[in-house]
């Protein structure tokens, strides 16, 4: 709905062109304010979007966008035929699948348990403590992981004392996914409870009362009252999670992986970084990056459509 001017009579008399001009004049200051943000989005978001044209070129920094030769979809063909690309895609998806299985339910369980705590002061204390890791930087968390799991690190020292054999956690590809997921849960589980706790406080206390009258114990109350109460929120968050299935915490992976763990740790974005910015193969890396952006876009929009249809609470 377009807003109609404050004076209906002049509005009705004025011709179409005049109305448009009046509206533009009225919004004059708003346009002036919006100029800088508009330029920001144009330069740092839309120009790069169209800059993806280099994915169809053999881009060379010297010749630039205009003069670099076009090669069509050659780069796309190249990576789609490369088994390593499918490994990258598999690694990216697997981290998300394990995330959906382990990282996603963790805050739900924690929220349900927090909700059962009787002493509010204690509950608030646990919450405060559990939120803390969320505020630590990726570098700090990765630093802790790398040092604690080092060959001579704390964890291996404990393993040794218990009579076990030291494990090369950081250099063994079979450990990478576990490390990624467990550290992710450690950092985000507390923070993830916020939205569920909010939903839990919205549940009518009479429902618990009724369940108790029917002889339901605490577990049954959780299963039949609390859990169903937050199912709508869970559904929406799960769909949004699926929408982000091509996105992983590549900034963390960059800090955790090394040549010996690429097999499980290398994902699309880390590959784009290595090949494009370290290896200077800008066109090929852009093609891979663009492939990711397009698929990710389709997934996110699809997930949003679905959530809107289900609950009406979409991201926008």
């Amino acid at each position: 709905m377009l807003n109609v001017g404050d004076d209906p009579t002049t509005q009705a008399e004025a011709g179409g062109e005049n109305v448009l001009r009046r509206r533009l004049v009225r919004s004059k200051y708003l346009y002036m304010m919006f100029f800088l943000p508009f330029m920001y989005f144009l330069v740092f978001h839309y120009v790069p979007m169209f800059g993806n044209v280099i994915a169809f070129q053999n881009y060379n920094v010297v010749t630039g966008f205009i003069k670099s030769p076009f090669v069509g979809v050659a780069h796309f063909k190249e990576f789609l035929a490369d088994p390593y690309f499918w490994k990258l895609l598999r690694n990216t998806l697997l981290l998300n699948v394990y995330g959906a299985i382990f990282s996603f339910p963790a805050p739900i369980v924690l929220a349900l348990l927090l909700n059962e705590l009787r002493l509010q002061l204690f509950k608030r204390f646990v919450q405060s403590v559990a939120y803390l890791p969320h505020f630590l930087s990726t570098v700090v968390v990765s630093g802790m992981i790398v040092n604690y799991l080092a060959y001579d690190g704390v964890v291996n020292r404990i393993i040794e004392q218990l009579g076990g054999e030291q494990i090369q956690f950081m250099n063994d590809p079979s450990w990478f996914r576990t490390i990624y997921i467990v550290s992710d849960i450690w950092q985000q589980v507390g923070w993830g409870t916020i939205i569920y706790l909010a939903a839990l406080t919205g549940i009518d206390p009479q429902l618990y009362e009724a369940a108790r009258m029917d002889g339901a114990g605490r577990f049954k109350q959780i299963r039949h009252v609390a859990l169903p109460g937050i199912v709508p929120v869970i559904t929406i968050l799960f769909l949004l999670n699926i929408g982000n299935f091509l996105t992983v915490g590549y900034e963390k992976i960059l800090l955790l992986y090394n040549g010996s763990t690429y097999e499980t740790a290398d994902v699309i974005q880390t590959f784009v970084y290595r090949r494009g910015l370290l290896g200077s193969d800008l066109s090929f890396a852009s093609a891979v990056g663009m492939f990711q952006s397009v698929i990710a876009f389709i997934l996110v929009v699809g997930a949003n459509r679905l959530t809107k249809r289900l609950g009406g609470t979409a991201l926008w």
């Binding site: 304010m33 059962e116 700090v140």
Partner: protein, 293 residues
């Protein structure tokens, strides 16, 4: 009901409290451990004698890092990036949110879509790098503070907040001859002080913690933020020993655990000190963000 004891607590409550104590331990111990190692004697740390209390307390690690020029420079850089970055963030985010919150902003629907679309379609790491390069921003602080000027999600929170300001306030100002710019400066911004405080914390934490833009846009050591130094000392110092400096902390091939953790502690100190505020504002923000959107 039968299982209730004298104080009305069931076995469930006791188990639950135990579980939560476990959660507290798991969350805090890894952080606490870094703090006690950083003030313990280096050889005791290496022998694995440090468990729950610091051994032979010494502040040597902190003396070393505070006299290490690259670390001090990086710390100052991070403070500058955070302060300037937050200023740019607040300016740009509010300049974006206010027009989009006004009904009479002609083209509002188009511009909203223009902005929101960038949340869903990423231009990509490589083309953005080329833009930053093309603007001559590489190896300048602008590469750190400009490309992340507006977080669309925070912008939408701000727009929602602006929309909730009573229309009557605007109307009476317009009748008095004020224009949108004056209303924005004299009415909207002062009324949004609590929101701006929240935004300041949001943006400040993200600047303080960020390393990736610095990794790709900065080559000059003198411009490195603390997170990059942290990465070089704490992560690479152990995994690869890639540092090339010949003196100072990064010159030693294997960095002592207590020095590593001391650097981590000074990097997270501001966050720990501000934590009571951070937590309060962030939780509020997370609620607004997730419920409204």
């Amino acid at each position: 009901m039968k299982r209730l004891n004298a104080r009305g607590h069931t076995a469930f409550d006791y188990v639950n409290v135990l579980l939560m104590l476990g959660v507290i331990f798991v969350m805090l111990y890894p952080i606490y451990y870094m703090a006690i190692v950083s003030i313990s004697n280096g050889t005791s740390v290496a022998r694995g004698e440090v468990g729950f209390l610091p051994v032979k307390i010494t502040w040597k690690a902190y003396e070393i890092i505070f006299s290490d020029a690259p670390i001090v420079t990086a710390y100052k850089n991070t403070i500058v990036y955070t302060a300037l970055g937050v200023f740019i963030n607040l300016l740009m985010t509010s300049l974006c949110a206010y027009p989009l919150s006004r009904k009479e902003f002609y083209g509002k629907t188009f511009f909203s879509l223009f902005v929101v679309f960038t949340m869903f379609f990423d231009g990509g790491m490589i083309p953005r790098f080329l833009v930053v390069n093309g603007l001559g921003m590489l190896d300048t602080l602008w590469a750190i503070v400009i490309p992340t000027a507006i977080n669309v999600f925070y912008m939408m929170m701000m727009r929602t907040f602006f929309q909730a300001i009573p229309e009557a306030l605007h109307e009476s100002a317009f009748i008095d001859g004020a224009n949108d710019w004056t209303v924005f400066r004299k009415i909207v911004i002062p009324l949004s002080a609590p929101l701006l405080a929240t935004m300041t914390l949001f943006y400040a934490v993200s600047h303080w913690n960020s390393y990736f833009p610095a990794l790709i846009y900065l080559n000059d050591n003198a411009l490195y933020p603390i997170q990059i130094i942290l990465r070089n000392i704490v992560i690479q110092g152990d995994v690869a020993s890639q540092s090339t400096e010949t003196n100072g902390v990064m010159g030693t091939l294997v960095v002592d655990q207590n020095i590593k953790y001391a650097v981590v502690i000074i990097a997270i100190l501001p966050i720990l000190l501000l934590y009571p505020f951070l937590q309060k504002y962030f939780v509020k923000g997370a609620m607004v963000g997730s419920l409204k959107g």
